[in-house]
């Protein structure tokens, strides 16, 4: 049921990689992850637990096991999103997973081998194939930007001076929304060109090798592709449609800032995980409410993607898992995170303010209207009882006086009723105050 409840526009898919050479000795029986593709379920076994401990089951929009093909994942889960970007909407793909779980393989794969191409090269191919096959009156402009967010600082990966450049700032414009000030944007005319842009950025990216996987990194990376399509409309004027695709590589969940400051780690961990769990700062979380202001500690990533996570935008989260027992803790964390992601509210809050105020404002109006209705009903009923078939001509102005009087009376009755209600409320409040005093007294006593 919860699956249906989650928004149509946020999909979470999970993929588990096969055992690698080092792990082969474990054998299939040693795997901690089992998948039910039909039900979209992941069943996780705790390697350190006794047989009696129940296994943990998670349900997602789709799951892909060790035998899954790159193409299947793309066609089933990603293709519709790219189609919507080409139609002028925003789409976002998040990749999330512990290092060494095949996140890079899933997202990038082997570019040269069509069988092993990952989500990104497939998406590039999809976009440019679509453009090359489109009608000649349509003109397309594809632009790409590449940035990384490292410890909440935004850096331009396409800036040759990347390493030394100052962190970029997020700004907003009434006409064009959130943007990164001074971010490089490259026009790409072919797959080759866009691949080149991505390569340049990948090389610039702060890659931190660890003992677990040297290709892993500690930063979020965001590759943004803007597809602009201009086409003459029926009115002869050019119509421009802009869609944007955000490819987000989320920093691994187990990554922590390398910090020597003791005791600060919980905070640091929260910081690097800010975008992931949106836990933010404890106080901010406590203070969060409609009527309060929580100073901006919102992650840069969330802010950057704010217009991509609403309206008609589609979002997919691809989480990758490792099957080996030694990664149990991290795998569980990934699954829990992915599970939470299912409930992302894609629609920002809409003003619900009118609810109470409106009803109150309308109470008198309602009374008046009801009075009229009441009177009319009563009259028409009477009329029906009198003579059926009498036409409306006889319903003259002279009757208005009587109607007004009835209305007035009704309103008066309503007012009295409201007065009584008011009284009740007042008494209720009085009781509350009394209760409060009593409790305060008890507290002191």
């Amino acid at each position: 049921m919860s699956k249906n409840k989650s928004s149509e526009s946020v999909k979470v898919v999970v993929r588990c990689r096969p055992l690698n050479r080092k792990e082969e000795s474990i054998g299939p029986a040693g795997c901690i992850v089992q998948m039910d593709i039909r039900l979209g379920q992941v069943i996780l076994r705790n390697p350190r637990s006794t047989a009696s401990e129940p296994q943990k089951t998670f349900t997602f929009d789709a799951v892909y096991d060790a035998n899954s093909k790159q193409r299947d994942l793309y066609d089933e889960s990603v293709r519709p999103l790219i189609d919507s970007v080409l139609a002028g909407f925003n789409g976002t793909i998040f990749a999330y997973g512990q290092t060494g779980t095949g996140k890079t393989y899933t997202m990038q794969g082997a570019w040269m081998d069509p069988e092993k191409r990952g989500v990104i090269p497939n998406a590039f191919d999809h976009i440019f194939t679509h453009i090359s096959r489109s009608q000649s009156d349509r003109q397309y402009l594809v632009r790409a930007s590449y940035l990384e967010i490292y410890l909440e600082e935004v850096r331009d990966l396409l800036d040759p001076n990347h390493g030394n450049a100052r962190a970029l700032e997020l700004r907003e414009n009434p006409d064009s929304g959130v943007y990164v000030r001074d971010l490089t944007s490259c026009v790409c005319k072919s797959i080759k060109e866009i691949e080149e842009v991505m390569n340049v950025g990948n090389q610039a990216r702060a890659v931190g090798a660890t003992d677990m996987n040297e290709h892993s990194s500690r930063s979020h990376a965001l590759f943004m592709i803007t597809v602009e399509c201009s086409q003459p409309g029926p009115d002869g004027r050019k119509h421009i449609r802009v869609g944007r695709l955000n490819l987000v590589d989320l920093a691994g969940s187990e990554r922590q800032a390398k910090t020597g400051v003791q005791g600060e780690r919980l905070k640091e961990a929260a910081k690097i995980n800010l975008s992931l769990s949106a836990l933010g700062n404890v106080i901010s979380a406590l203070a969060d409410g409609r009527s309060s202001h929580v100073p901006y500690r919102d992650s840069k990533l969330t802010r950057l993607l704010q217009d991509s996570l609403g309206g008609n935008a589609k979002t997919i989260m691809v989480a990758t898992l490792g099957p080996s027992p030694q990664h149990y803790d991290e795998t569980l964390t990934t699954l829990r995170y992915a599970n939470r992601a299912k409930n992302i509210q894609n629609q920002p809050r809409v003003n619900e303010d009118p609810k109470d105020a409106l009803l109150r404002e309308f109470q008198m109006e309602i009374a008046r209207l009801r009075a009229q209705l009441h009177h009319r009903k009563w009259r028409s009923k009477q009329k029906k009882e009198q003579v059926d078939g009498e036409d409306w001509e006889g319903d003259g102005d002279e009757e208005t006086d009587g109607e007004e009087k009835a209305v007035e009376e009704y309103v008066k009755l309503e007012e009295q009723r409201l007065e009584r209600e008011k009284q009740d409320i007042r008494e209720d409040q009085f009781m509350l105050a009394e209760e409060k005093h009593r409790l305060l007294g008890e507290k002191r006593g």
């Binding site: 002028g88 907003e172 009434p174 006409d175 660890t210 919980l266 404890v282 008609n312």
Partner: protein, 639 residues
């Protein structure tokens, strides 16, 4: 054991200093492709220290019953349960006995090894070392020699288990740390050894002042971790109390950075105001303002252009002070709105009986405030205490009960609106700027409630329209759809309110039922403007092709149906002398009422959200055709 002055011991101390240096200083410079290099080196040193300590032990002929600290075997990760504080204070070796000191020293090495493993992402091994430390401490009684280690190891275990989402386990460790601290301070309280003291030569021992500082800091961390644990457990009130204590301790122990502290205090105020605890909220905000002042003056624009650091500082200070101003705005706004909620009658007007009653109850509240203030956990150091108190005096924390009191709070709020807007300008900060505008508008709306003069009340609403209308029309819907929807709705309602006020005014001035043409024109303009913005809101729900949605999303369900209902109502209120015009308006009105009814008929789940409106719409759908027919009949008769 080797004597403290021996060369062997000196070598151990040197190794320890090295390990510390590698962990804290060197590791910051490790290359990205080998981020834990220094930590691994430190680990080796710690292991050597451990072995040396053990060999001293063996050499001294002590009994050997240690569980090996080196095994890399994975233990089953069963959440451990912490021992009782009571036992820690009454059982085991004396802290200053040779056996007690030895246990503490070994425990400290285990502790550092544990932290080292956790830092290098080897959680299970880290846990094992920390638990070894716990086991060693189990044999000791809490004393000034070891209490610091008692607290630190529990803090680390708390972090470790919290990281695994085993919050209750973390809670257990941290709460024990808390009670050990409290009991120690009550029963002993002397500046305790720091763990580094175990491995310092005589001349390098920490001063008492430094010992106290480090110990208190460890406890501040326990509080801070507990705040997070309680938050994760959903115990918000406890979490808030621990956040408050953490802030208070930071200030008292002078361990804070002013802007960060100020922002935290300002944010905490937001928790209090949503709970109606305005006195605490005001205290947090006043402290935030005063402490943020400690960060110094904002560098001038000229200075910022000269240097990058100054420019950065300028940006930071301006932004954070503007954020604090925004928290103040919410304080004023909530205070006004809460009071309004209590004072208004069922049709949203001031209930004077209730007002009198509340004024009588006021004196009691004032006395209570005084009492509560005395018992509250107050912020401040010697030099900030007075400034915080004097800032508090500038704005009330009791619900305003009449126009003058409300106006005083409104003015404070409006002043902060100006401050906040100076930084959060439209160009660059669209969302923030508009949120501030919306608050400003709400401040006016609340104040209008207390205003008896309807003419002036109407002007207040006009101010709201003036600040929102141009902005709403300037925004691009593609990026600011939600904000625009909110503004459309608010504009529609504001025009509606103005329309009602105009009508009441006209009726008051003139006893005769008929309105003069000028008033009618004004009334109709306001009525149309209101309908226009409701309609704009409804249009914003349409698909890109302009089609009405067949199914309304849950988030917009009520607003959309209410907008329909109100448009219907507005059309029927338009004053039109020509019967043909009347019929036209009523037709439109009927159409919208019908939509509400039909939508609810086909989507039963919508009924509950608009019960009253639906009931009324049904009646109108039944009634309006009669009225329209009558009008039409009259028209034919007159022709």
């Amino acid at each position: 054991m080797a004597s403290v002055s021996s060369d062997e011991w000196r070598a151990i101390c040197d190794k320890f200093t090295n390990a510390q240096n590698l962990t804290v200083v060197e590791s910051c410079n490790d290359p990205d492709n080998d981020p834990f290099r220094s930590k691994y080196k430190a680990r080796e040193l710690l292991r050597e220290i451990y072995c040396s300590l053990k060999s001293f032990e063996a050499g001294d002929g002590e009994e050997e019953e240690e569980s090996g600290g080196e095994s890399g075997v994975q233990r089953p990760v069963e959440p451990p349960v912490d021992g009782q504080t009571e036992e820690a204070f009454s059982q085991g070796f004396c802290g200053d006995s040779p056996a007690g000191l030895r246990a503490a020293k070994l425990g400290a090495v285990e502790y550092y090894l544990g932290v080292n493993h956790v830092d290098t992402e080897e959680l299970s091994a880290g846990q094992e070392h920390l638990m070894n430390c716990m086991k060693l401490l189990e044999r000791c009684r809490v004393s000034s020699e070891n209490v610091s280690l008692f607290i630190h190891v529990r803090n680390q275990l708390g972090i470790l288990w919290a990281g695994r989402d085993e919050t209750e386990t973390a809670q257990g460790f941290l709460e024990t740390a808390e009670s050990i601290y409290q009991r120690y301070m009550k029963e002993d309280g002397s500046p305790p050894f720091d763990m580094t003291d175990y491995f310092s030569t005589e001349e390098n021992l920490l001063t008492h002042q430094e010992r106290t500082k480090r110990f208190e800091l460890a406890y501040t961390h326990s509080m801070y971790y507990l705040a997070q644990v309680y938050k994760n457990l959903g115990e918000t009130e406890r979490a808030a109390t621990y956040c408050h204590s953490t802030l208070q301790r930071q200030l008292k122990l002078n361990q804070f950075s002013p802007m960060e502290w100020a922002l935290n205090a300002a944010t905490l105020s937001q928790y209090y105001i949503t709970k109606g605890r305005y006195m605490e909220g005001r205290h947090c905000l006043s402290a935030a303002t005063v402490i943020s002042g400690l960060a110094g003056d904002v560098p001038s624009e000229a200075a910022a252009q000269e240097s990058e650091t100054e420019s950065e500082r300028r940006e930071q200070l301006r932004q954070k002070r503007a954020e604090i101003a925004r928290c103040w705005i919410k304080y004023c706004l909530n205070l006004l709105q809460d009071s309004k909620k209590l004072l208004e009658d069922s049709i949203g007007e001031l209930d004077t009986d209730r007002q009198e009653e509340m004024k009588r109850a006021r004196r009691l509240e004032e006395e209570e405030e005084e009492k509560e203030r005395k018992s509250a956990l107050l912020f401040g150091s010697e030099d900030t205490f007075d400034s915080i108190a004097s800032l508090e005096e500038k704005v009330g924390c009791l619900l305003p009960l009449d126009f003058n009191e409300a106006r005083a709070i409104f003015l404070v709020g409006q002043n902060y609106v100006t401050q906040a807007k100076e930084y959060f300008q439209m160009d660059g900060y669209v969302t923030d700027h508009i949120e501030i505008l919306q608050d400003h508008s709400s401040l006016f709306r609340s104040l209008a409630f207390y205003e008896e003069d309807l003419e002036r009340r109407c002007k207040m609403h006009k101010r709201r329209v003036d600040m929102m209308e141009p902005v709403c029309n300037e925004l691009n819907s593609k990026y600011y759809l939600m904000i625009r929807r909110q503004m459309m709705f608010e504009l529609a309602e504001t025009f509606n309110e103005m329309m009602d006020l105009k009508l009441t005014l006209a009726n008051r001035q003139d006893d005769s039922e008929s309105l003069d043409s000028h008033t009618i024109k004004k009334f109709n303009n306001l009525c149309s403007a209101s309908a226009k913005y409701f309609q704009m809101f409804l249009d914003s729900l349409c698909s890109p092709e302009g089609k009405q949605p067949e199914h309304l999303e849950e988030e917009v369900l009520r607003p959309a149906l209410v907008a329909r209902f109100r448009v219907a109502r507005l059309y029927s209120r338009l004053i039109c002398t020509a019967p043909s015009g009347q019929v036209e308006n009523l037709d439109k009105s009927l159409e919208h009422y019908k939509y509400v009814v039909q939508y609810c008929d086909t989507h039963p789940e919508a009924v509950a959200t608009v019960e009253t409106e639906l009931e009324l719409s049904r009646e109108m759908v039944g009634l309006l055709p009669l009225k329209i027919n009558r009008l039409k009949a009259k028209m034919t008769a007159n022709n």
